[in-house]
Amino acid sequence: MDFLNAIVALANYVLIPATAYGAQLALGALGVTLIYGILRFSNFAHGDTMAFGTMVTILFTWWFQSMGLHFGPLPTALLALPFGIAVTAVLLLGTDRLVFRFYRKKKSDPVILTIVSLGVMFIYNGLVRFVIGVGDQQFLDGERFVISARGFKDATGLDEALALKTTQVLTVVVAVLVVGALFWFLNRTRTGKSMRAFSDNEDLALLSGINPDKVVAVTWIIVAGLVTVAGVLYGLDKSFKPFTYFQLLLPIFAAAIVGGLGNPLGAIAGGFVIAFSEVTITYAWKKVVTYILPDSLAPDGLVQLLTTDYKFAVSFVILIIVLLFRPTGIFKGQSA
């Protein structure tokens, strides 16, 4: 029985949250890695793009809610998501046209593009504060739990409860669908293949008659989709606060680099590596350990390796280790 309790506690506090968080990071990291692969720079505005897409989705959600439009047991935000993606895509394409394109045509050094993305980051950040403010926003509605803590206890008779939030299931389902669609697109369609070709060898892609402007535009649209979905899922699962989204930049970049920049499969793996390390290292294992060990050996401390305040340190340390031992990432990325 104690063993079962331990497993349930582990699932409840570590496995489920880390899986959901990993899926969110993976979607974010996919965006970073696509931009890196096609446009060849590290986009520092990524976190704020995420905040922007989420904000637009929240505004649509509120509007729908005010009209009495709901999505049954699912969050209304899902209905608003396509609109959020569309507006974000327009913003990104506009930014590309006004800002990034100039440097691309000039073939500027990637680091210049990264600095340019700092300017874009400021503007997006200002834009989000301007519209929705800096505070926490809740936009979750619909059914809270797929499995509620009480329901689980009653059904199983265990001491430990397992709660499965709708947002957690949703995160994983949506992430799987999105990633599936992305990989189908990249591997099976002509446009997707041309994007991979462009990422592999730009000069040869041009020689083969691939239109770079189209590739870039499609990339931004896909990024708008990934980033908005990632941001909305994160916001539903936790809450929306612009500064938190800016801070997500670090774990997202860590995930993309750990997986190998420019490699989509790596971005997904990286997202989960970072999420699971973060959660396991900052989780207080006391409960699980107490169930497993005999009473005489029960720990009196929290058995927590690091407090949750240091979760960024975890992604950072993993990043450093990968940079030291395998700068191209777990899956081979584009550059060292």
Binding site: S42, V111, F122, I123, F130, T307, F312, F316
Partner: protein
């Protein structure tokens, strides 16, 4: 315009902005000398940080996005150097387990942690490649970590129990607070050495990500390690290197002199204190500036720029590029650390929650780019101009929203939202300025020669 005239004219123009700020409340200016001096002091500090970043970026092309962290380490130095020692934090008796207690035990724990990492690196380097190497490194790290936590946590427990309402930290050395400025530089230099060792020599944006990360971690440490500088409970009332207003106001000679100037004692004392800081900061800025200029024009500076412009060629000539980059990364970060210590000294408070990357890292970048990367005068000018602008954007936003909403009644939704929004103009404006300069004048206001 001749280039030789351009630099002095730009500086005169920026000086005029500060004079207008103090002397007139026309348009967006405040008309308060106290406010103007307050802006000037932060501008001086920003200029010093911009010089540090300019060394890294302008001389060597290194992309450091961890300025906030280095500045915060400087802030930490003020506490560890300037505050009075905490009674009982470093007890001379051994504990029940035979180990030293309190602060000693914390230091021992930290030393053990460093030793563990060193041992792991040693194992990684010296043992033959293979599974044994990986396993022994892992074992060293895991065992080391738990021993470290055992030593360290015991020390922390005792220190944090000492008078938690006012202290609960290891306290400082009780030295004059100015001593903390170079110490802040050393702290930043040490952190820069660690980051540089790992992330230099890789792609330039990896350094950016690594520094961004270390800055967040430094802030997290400051927020959570209460034994160090009381965490989010903040350290207040740091000692000052300059006079206190109350003392000045109690000094009859000062009050009389103030009266001669036609100032009331309260205003005069505030201005006096701020001016004292301005003089101190200006002195440091001049020292750093002279050093930076000498370095830039020395053979070493020329070599640095040669490396920046063509790394491959420099490598082919036998220059160890990564090593040179490490040097300059450390020096530039140390300058940021010094400025950070100075900023905390002026505030008199160490508040880890106040460190925001947009303000402490990315704004400095705007200063360097707008001023002119690679040119020290440009970095200084950028520091002054952008910091003034950062403060002016809000009144400018209010002014603009007043114009846009002229004739609208109070409480009109557009008017209200425009007034609310004025506060958020800052980031937006900085972004626009950065992009416009990068696009139309990428070499900045005072380009590199």
């Amino acid at each position: 315009m001749k280039t030789s005239m351009r630099t002095p004219l730009l500086f005169v123009a920026v000086a005029a902005l500060f004079i207008l700020e103090g002397s007139t409340n026309w348009w967006i200016f405040s008309g308060s000398w106290t406010a103007a001096l307050g802006i000037l002091n932060m501008a001086l500090l920003s200029a010093i940080m911009a010089l540090g970043v300019n060394m890294q970026w302008g001389y060597a092309g290194l992309f450091n996005t961890g300025i906030m962290g280095f500045a915060a380490l400087g802030g930490l130095a003020t506490v560890l150097v300037g505050t009075q020692p905490t009674a009982g934090a470093f007890p001379w008796e051994l504990g029940a387990d035979g180990l030293p207690q309190g602060g000693w035990r914390i230091l021992m724990g930290l030393a053990f942690g460093a030793l563990t990492i060193a041992a792991a690196i040693f194992a990684q380097r010296r043992l033959p490649k293979g599974r044994m190497r990986g396993l022994s490194t892992l074992a060293i790290i895991v065992v080391g970590f738990f021993v470290y936590r055992w030593i360290f946590d015991g020390g922390v427990e005792l220190v944090e129990k000492i008078n938690p309402a006012t202290s609960g930290n290891i306290g400082g050395l009780g030295l004059p607070i100015i001593v903390s400025w170079p110490v802040g530089g050393l702290f930043a230099a040490a952190a820069a050495w660690v980051i540089g060792k790992t992330a230099l020599g890789l792609r330039s944006d990896y350094l950016a990500i690594a520094t961004l990360g270390i800055a967040e971690i430094i802030i997290a440490v400051l927020k959570n390690e209460d034994w160090l500088a009381r965490g989010v409970k903040n350290i207040i009332g740091l000692p000052r290197p300059v006079a206190y207003e109350v003392n000045l106001q109690a000094d009859p000679a000062f009050v009389e002199r103030a009266a001669n100037w036609g100032l009331d004692p309260a205003t005069a004392s505030t201005i006096w204190v701020k001016l004292s800081y301005s003089v101190l900061f200006a002195a440091v800025l001049i020292v750093v500036m002279v050093g930076a200029q000498l370095a830039l024009n020395s053979p070493w500076g020329r070599m640095m720029r040669a490396i920046r412009d063509n790394e491959t060629a420099a490598e082919a000539m036998g220059k160890n590029v990564t090593r040179r980059h490490l040097h300059i990364f450390i020096i530039g970060s140390a300058v940021c650390g010094i400025a950070g210590a100075m900023a905390t000294t002026m505030d008199g408070v160490l508040n880890p929650g106040a460190y925001q990357p947009l303000r402490y890292t990315f704004l400095i970048w705007v200063m360097v780019i707008v001023g002119g990367s690679g040119n020290n005068w440009g970095a200084v000018l950028g520091g002054f101009l952008i910091w003034w602008l950062w403060n002016a954007v809000e009144p400018l936003g209010i002014w603009l929203s007043n114009i846009l909403t002229v004739g609208l009644p109070d409480g009109n939704w557009f008017k209200t939202s425009m007034q609310d929004a004025a506060a958020h103009f800052r980031l937006f404006t900085m972004g626009i300025i950065l992009l416009v300069v990068l696009r139309f004048s990428p070499r900045g206001l005072i380009p590199e020669k």
